[in-house]
């Protein structure tokens, strides 16, 4: 009986914490937080010396006199005395945020981002608020999790290496029980946050009386005369917004776990944060919270979205010259970004195409779209980058009106003519 009980408990524990699942949700959080931090600290560059410099708003000698109940920890930034040193550290940190976003050398970059973020927070605690704590928690969990295994340059590099020998090679989807546990902790963090936020609100008269939102917009920080005009003439909006906020926050920690209600709670939570984004100007906070909610996305939703996209775009066939090593390497790079498997390949030397003649293939790579249209060279790449999500980062290069084709077509033609020398 004891064995049976132990087995049941272990099974339940594993179901809650240690399911063997892909890391997609954590990767989405990684990308979102990296982008958010890059923007936030990037904009902070204009205030670098004021906020975090030793001669700025919060010099160390003043922080040392803070009351004992204002707990803060030492930061490595206290030991940076020269402006050029602070600039160098700051731009290195921004580089790491960008690297985290794109998933480059994720295994160690993520730790630098966490250490950097905590360093900034502890250096100037007076300008931090809830978002910095949420971010620290999410970053810590990302550091502990095996991220960078999907939707990342690390994975692209691994796929490229595999495809150099065989363009059809695929890497298995990375799954991890520990990554799931980290994702679960993220979910718990978000649920606890909402619970206590609602609990605190329920202890305040403004929220019970239904006019808290009115008072928010009369404070100096969020004063908005236009909204006050609207609220004053339609005060029911204030009541709905006030009670709606509390309802979403108190429902979230309980209903987010249910299969039938998760989607609705996520929509409600994201809607709430979008309101904060647009009406309160809390861009950073709203973005980080929305990224935290990404941990609740179900894998089947993401898979369905990918399948829908693939159906909508149709399968594309890239026809290339298998005898050209440069062409094979280029194809390997290109396909490494095709996470959804939208592109099939054909080596015209071994398997001639019925749509494109060999003579045409000698001049340029071709793409045959789902409707049978053949596109050559630059136009083939241009077609694909818009339709393959992993290649969207190339869209700015291929879609600048006038300029992309003006430069892109001659560059491609030159590469095609000289491909045997590359």
């Amino acid at each position: 009986m004891f064995q049976a009980l132990r087995s049941s408990l272990k099974r339940a524990w594993d179901d809650v914490w240690f399911q063997d699942r892909p890391t997609t949700q954590l990767e989405l959080v990684r990308i979102g937080l990296g982008f958010g931090m890059l923007c936030h600290y990037g904009l902070g560059s204009a205030y670098l010396f004021e906020i975090w410099g030793n001669q700025g708003w919060f010099p160390p000698e003043l922080l040392a006199t803070l009351p004992a109940d204002v707990a803060f920890m030492k930061s490595p930034l206290f030991y940076i005395t020269q402006p050029w040193q602070l600039s160098a550290v700051h731009f290195m940190f921004l580089f790491c945020c960008a690297a985290l976003m794109v998933g480059w050398r994720t295994n160690w970059v993520k730790w630098l981002v966490l250490i950097g973020h905590l360093s900034y927070v502890h250096r100037s605690p007076e300008v931090t608020y809830g978002v910095d704590a949420i971010l620290a928690s999410l970053l810590m969990l990302l550091c502990l999790a095996p991220i960078g295994k999907a939707i990342s340059l690390d994975r692209v590099r691994a796929l490229y290496n595999a495809k150099q020998d065989n363009l059809d090679a695929q890497l298995p989807v990375f799954t991890s029980r520990w990554a799931f546990a980290c994702r679960r902790l993220m979910q718990l963090q978000m649920a606890v946050l909402f619970f206590f936020s609602a609990a605190h609100k329920l202890g305040e008269k403004d929220w019970w009386q239904g006019d808290a939102i009115w008072h928010v917009f009369t404070t100096s920080e969020y004063y908005n005369a236009t909204l006050l005009d609207l609220f004053a003439t339609h005060f029911w909006i204030v009541n709905i917004a006030t009670y709606g906020t509390v309802l979403i926050e108190i429902a979230f920690p309980f209903l987010i776990w249910q299969r039938s209600t998760r989607a609705w709670l996520l929509i409600g939570a994201v809607f709430l944060h979008l309101l904060f984004f647009f009406f309160l100007g809390l861009h950073y906070f709203s973005w980080v919270m929305i990224m935290g909610h990404a941990s609740f996305l179900r894998q089947e939703w993401l898979d369905s979205l990918g399948a829908w996209w693939k159906r909508r775009m149709g399968i594309m066939e890239m026809i290339y010259d298998g005898r050209c090593t440069f062409c094979v390497r280029s194809m390997a790079w290109f396909l490494a970004f095709d996470n959804l498997g939208q592109i099939n390949t054909r080596d015209f030397r071994n398997s001639p195409s019925r749509v494109v003649s060999d003579e045409e293939m000698e001049k340029a790579l071709h793409m045959v779209s789902a409707d049978g249209t053949a596109l050559a060279g630059f136009e083939a790449y241009r077609y694909a980058v818009l339709r393959v999500p992993g290649l969207w980062w190339q869209v700015p290069f291929f879609y600048i009106p006038g300029l992309s084709r003006l430069f892109g077509i001659p560059i491609y033609n030159w590469v095609a003519e000289n491909r045997s020398k590359l």
Binding site: L43, M73, G130, V192, H200
Partner: protein, 179 residues
Amino acid sequence: MFASIVPERWHGPVMYVLMSVFVAWHSLCLIVGPAPQGSMIAQALRPLVNPYLGFISLNVKWGFFAPVGDATEFRYLVIDNVGKAHTFRPTSGLAWYHPGNLWTIDRYRAIVQRPDVYGDRLIAEYCRKRIALKPVKIKLLQVVQEKAFLPWDHFAGKNPLDPEFATTETLRTKKCSRP
């Protein structure tokens, strides 16, 4: 190092136990951290969890907009050599989309909360910044809303920081040192 200490056949079970201990520990910290001060269980566990929460900056109560608070504004008064007072409102008119908006507001919030820590330095800064006015003395002020601001007040074109709703408190006063 782990592999050298623990025999290989125990790697899996040991890792499982360590992971389980961590998730239980972190979950406990997430819940105890923001728990109310009056909770005896939370108080008993706080000495254990506070160092961990402090290190990862998670000792936060999550009381967003609770309470909402009243309208407040930081101002400073420059008294020149002929006794005329000039009022400045550093946070007034900050555009919500301005990247430095929140940092600037946070800075002045810190000054208002701790004028004894930051006040003298700020006054010295303003003495230099407003040198054209020939400042003799600078007062740091906080305007605080004391009376409720209601929709009909807004209709009447009033502001929560108008004198009928708000009081002005002097935070710190100091003379400017002669250049």
